[in-house]
Symmetry: C2
Subunit: 422 residues, 2 copies
């Protein structure tokens, strides 16, 4: 008897009627001969409503209390889902993250899972019950306080539980049919991928594909948990994330898909003295402010001036934090000024096959040039090429690249969109 972990996002349990539909799907999975552990997010807009309530009493809620507040959302959805399953004649028991043994560090708002000790879940499954677990939450190992895992947290809860329970598969239910070769809202001919490797999915997620969060895929790869991403609104198969690029056969498609990301901004530090240690000083300062940077480019020094420019991209949400931190050390580092640009977009091509096909870069850049897309920054990995361009050019770039690699319609493999996931 296999164990299946299913995760349902907020849009899949938006109201009582949706919860009842999900209950029926869970019961069908049980009737098919599986032990089922379900991870559930807060219903619909609950999290936003709770955040609104917090804002009404303070502009700066303490992280500990905000986590206590937000975890009420999953508490409600999991209890109601358990009731809906009971109403279908099956026993379901709901468990908080703490009860399910999701042990984290103490970083409120974006805690990391340290360990999962799902003793109570295993007992429930062994006793024939369906286990319903609150996603997105855990309990701090040190302080015993309630924590939340941050964006995409429920997906991570599901994968972590699947690993700890040695589940056969972790099914992530969302409002889209799986992972696509591009965002179907931009490329109408985008195709759904049947399978994609962990490495490719990691690159896609890091490049802006929203259907799965990066840390969830990282966790799945580390513990070798197959993820099946599919829609809770249909019975169609979705996309299975599994396997390594090392195992791919030569016949495998070269390219999985085209991802894009409009969530980043670019900061350019202008007039940096071109002497050793200046770049290190800049990025040390940014890191100290708690800002994660993505791409970095340093322009060639103008020989006459002995000055250079350093650009980097970062989440827009960290923009003002980074600008403030750098402004404070302008005198120490000795740069001329800062430029901030949030009208940028990143377009990435991902595919395991590009390792052994040297022509990929040429095709990629040719397609962008023919479409009139200017390239600002370039970054590559073994299985990915990314460029930064103007935000207005993102759609054009995605379509041009999608067509150039013959991904349109019935032509094979992968990227992503949609899903607000937590």
């Amino acid at each position: 008897m296999g164990i299946v972990v299913q995760k349902y996002g907020g849009s899949s349990v938006s109201d009582a009627a949706a919860v009842k539909r999900v209950a029926q799907r869970i019961v069908r999975t049980v009737q098919a001969g599986n032990k089922v552990c379900v991870v559930v997010s807060a219903m619909g807009d609950t999290t936003d409503e709770l955040l609104d309530l917090a804002e009404q009493v303070t502009p700066t809620p303490p992280g500990r209390e905000l986590d206590m507040l937000l975890t009420a959302g999953e508490r409600i959805s999991m209890a109601v889902l358990a009731m809906a399953i009971a109403n279908l004649g099956h026993e379901a028991r709901s468990f908080t993250g703490s009860q399910a043994g999701v042990i984290t560090d103490s970083t409120h708002g974006r805690a990391r899972i340290i360990d999962v000790t799902p003793g109570r879940i295993s007992t429930a499954l062994d006793e024939g019950a369906i286990a319903i677990v609150a996603g997105f939450q855990g309990v701090s190992q040190d302080t015993k306080d309630i924590t939340t895992l941050g964006r995409g947290g429920s997906d991570t809860t599901a994968v972590a539980l699947a690993a700890a329970l040695h589940a056969d598969v972790c099914e992530i239910y969302t409002d889209v049919d799986g992972v696509f070769t591009a965002d179907p809202r931009i490329v109408s001919t985008a195709a759904r991928l049947d399978t994609v490797t962990y490495e490719e999915m990691l690159e896609l997620a890091a490049s802006g594909a929203k259907v799965l969060m990066l840390r969830c895929v990282e966790y799945a790869r580390r513990y070798d948990v197959p993820i099946h991403v599919r829609s809770s609104f249909s019975d169609r198969p979705g996309t299975t994330v599994t396997g390594s690029i090392e195992e791919l056969s030569m016949e495998q498609a070269i390219i999985s898909g085209v991802a894009h990301d409009r969530s980043e901004a670019k900061i350019t530090v202008v007039g940096v003295p071109d002497v050793p240690g200046k770049a290190a000083a800049i990025f040390t300062e940014v890191a100290r402010a708690g800002v994660n940077i993505d791409m970095i480019v340093q322009n060639v020094s103008a020989a006459q001036t002995g000055l250079t420019d350093v650009s980097f991209t970062l989440p827009k949400t960290d923009g003002s934090t980074a600008m403030t931190a750098l402004t404070a050390v302008q005198g120490t580092i000795g740069f001329a000024r800062l430029q901030y640009d949030d009208q940028i977009g990143k377009v990435s091509l991902v595919g395991a096959g590009m390792r052994s096909h040297p022509g990929v870069s040429a095709t990629f850049f040719s397609a962008l040039a023919e479409a009139g897309v200017n390239i600002d920054v370039i970054s590559t990995s073994e299985i990915r090429i990314s460029v930064v361009t103007h935000a207005d050019k993102v759609d054009t770039a995605v379509r041009a690249v999608h067509t150039a690699f013959q991904l349109d319609a019935d032509q094979v493999e992968a990227v992503v969109y949609g899903g607000t996931g937590r």
Copy 2:
């Protein structure tokens, strides 16, 4: 430095503005030199909204899951209250019933507190923080599942914590000014009591006074915790519940007040064979159905028939359960038929002084007779006389008795009304 436990009901934290007002009152208590532990109920209509949600998925929610659902209400209010306090520059830490060490039995929906181990609360208070505890909830000693304490549960949480923390006082904040000599909505001249003994408050609560629940007062008496019932909407002093009737001086008022209760119904078992064991059989059956009965009266047997009638009162909410249980054993017990009457009301006079004043009963019954109130059932204790009459006659009876004992306006001591408390 004394410890004060404060409990705020749902009407005191109905919205963000109300929560902020409560936060200010808590901070003032801290500034006056106290360590403060706060017990809070769910905000306004939250509990009803959660019950509505449950009803949308099933008519019969499992108790375990209903408790999981409802406890989300206090989780929200306590976190928001802690945030509002933080916004005033004081540290507050919220704790679930489980985190606060409220250990109960496993009876979902009306669990009883077995033990309170408030280690984390004491630590928080010692570290200078304000502790905010979710009322109404605990954790089962046996199953480790979340439980709720049922009606008036938050008051009981507060008193239990006050006892465990050896607090100086347990302040119960509500939407009325304290305990009155009668319900001011019925008797406009009802007066607030300054103090009332535990025994009198127990009788008042058992007789329909809603400002404090019976079990909360029982708990306070057992652990000798003074309760101060007062309004969260004013700074006026309320009513202090403390001391034993044994300690009362001779000058103490004879009567505390007049309570009434319209929540009961009466069942009459007609034509019961007047032989030993029949009454026992009836009440055994009712008890087996889980129904608590209040007053019992057995009519004198009609000599000719060898049959008698047995009447008893019970909560209206248990009416159909009791009727069903008795109907099932009609053949075995051999009674003729059942009568059900939910148009009844109980009026009670409570006062420690009536022990030593034999004329109290006479005055009580004379006042009712003069007001034209028919008496159906009578029950007494050492410090209480209760009668059952028609529901329509309750207001008339309360006013007549209140006047007969000179309780109007500035004439001394105590009963109750209002507050939906949980």
